[in-house]
């Protein structure tokens, strides 16, 4: 009996490790920017290229920063979730149109609805690099002091919103 216990033990440990490995998502790279100030930028608005927006102007409120593009298919997946959230008016969503043609982005907003309070245009992806963007869509939660508190890579699903984003929003808004 004892003879079998050791290999069985090793086998069980191996299965547990492999099981954990299966559950891990290699696309979810922890961002080193959590707890750091949101990188500054000053980018033109999609709605009015003559005007610019920078994160410093949003000091004092909690906001979501959603990086998206018209060419990004999974951004379309989260679009309805974001629209729903914006209608509830719990937290303002600011968008960044990443490496995209402004006209294409505007066309998407015109036909699918606009969840964003404002959208800034990052034509060359420079601001995106400063935020560590590596795959759109990405969503950041920024607190009243301009500190990044959370990052979500990939489309925002209703579960992610309920479990991850909204509880933190409520906590930060107090």
């Amino acid at each position: 009996m004892k003879r079998f216990m050791i290999p069985l033990g090793i086998f069980i440990v191996l299965v547990i490790f492999l099981g954990i490995g299966l559950k891990l998502d290699p696309r979810e790279v922890p961002s080193p920017l959590i707890g750091k100030p949101a990188p500054a930028f000053s980018l033109a608005l999609l709605s009015d290229p003559a005007r610019q927006l920078s994160p410093a102007e949003l000091r004092g409120k909690v906001w979501l920063f959603n990086v998206w593009a018209s060419w990004c298919a999974s951004c379309r997946q989260e679009h309805d979730v974001l629209l729903d959230l914006s209608k509830k008016g719990i937290v303002p969503i600011y968008g960044m149109d990443y490496k995209d043609q402004p006209a294409d982005a505007q066309a998407v907003l015109n036909s699918y609805g606009n969840p964003y309070t404002e959208t800034v245009v990052d034509r060359d992806g420079r601001a995106g690099i400063n935020y560590g963007v590596y795959g759109v869509p990405e969503t950041y939660l920024i607190d009243k002091n301009g500190i990044i508190r959370m990052k979500h890579t990939g489309p925002v699903t209703p579960e992610v919103l309920e479990r991850k984003i909204l509880p933190l929003v409520k906590e930060l808004q107090q």
């Binding site: 961002s31 920017l33 490496k99 690099i129 935020y131 963007v133 590596y134």
Partner: protein
Amino acid sequence: MRLNIKPALRAGMVALVLWLPLAAIAGEAVPVAQDPVLEQRMIALSEDLRCLVCQNESLAGSRADLAQDLRQEIREQMRAGKSDKEVVSYLTQRYGDFVLYKPPLKPLTWLLWFGPFALLIGAAGGFYFYLKRRGTRLASETLSAEEKQRVEALLGSNGNES
């Protein structure tokens, strides 16, 4: 005048035809960047960096859009006189240690760096003690008179048969 132009034109055309192969060779060797030394340095550095879009590719080898942007960024920073270390820290500040194929040595990565050696030492130690115990057990085992007789009988009968 007319007669003068024609030979000149012909000479010009001959020269053009003779030039064509040279032009073709020149066309194949497209310069990668203005500064080959800097380009070499950029590639050497980005070989050790991970492309975050296609995670099993290095930043040097990836054709992903982001990889191209980051290579351009590295190129520009190097041109501005930044050291390799500064460029790497620029990237890790934004993308984390995950961009490094060689993770840095710090308490969080001790298991990663020393785990295999600890495992090897543990296994070697276990094997050593196993052999030692087995040796003493085999040496201490003596046969009783009855067992000796059986052994001899078996060996003897075996020997008789053949």
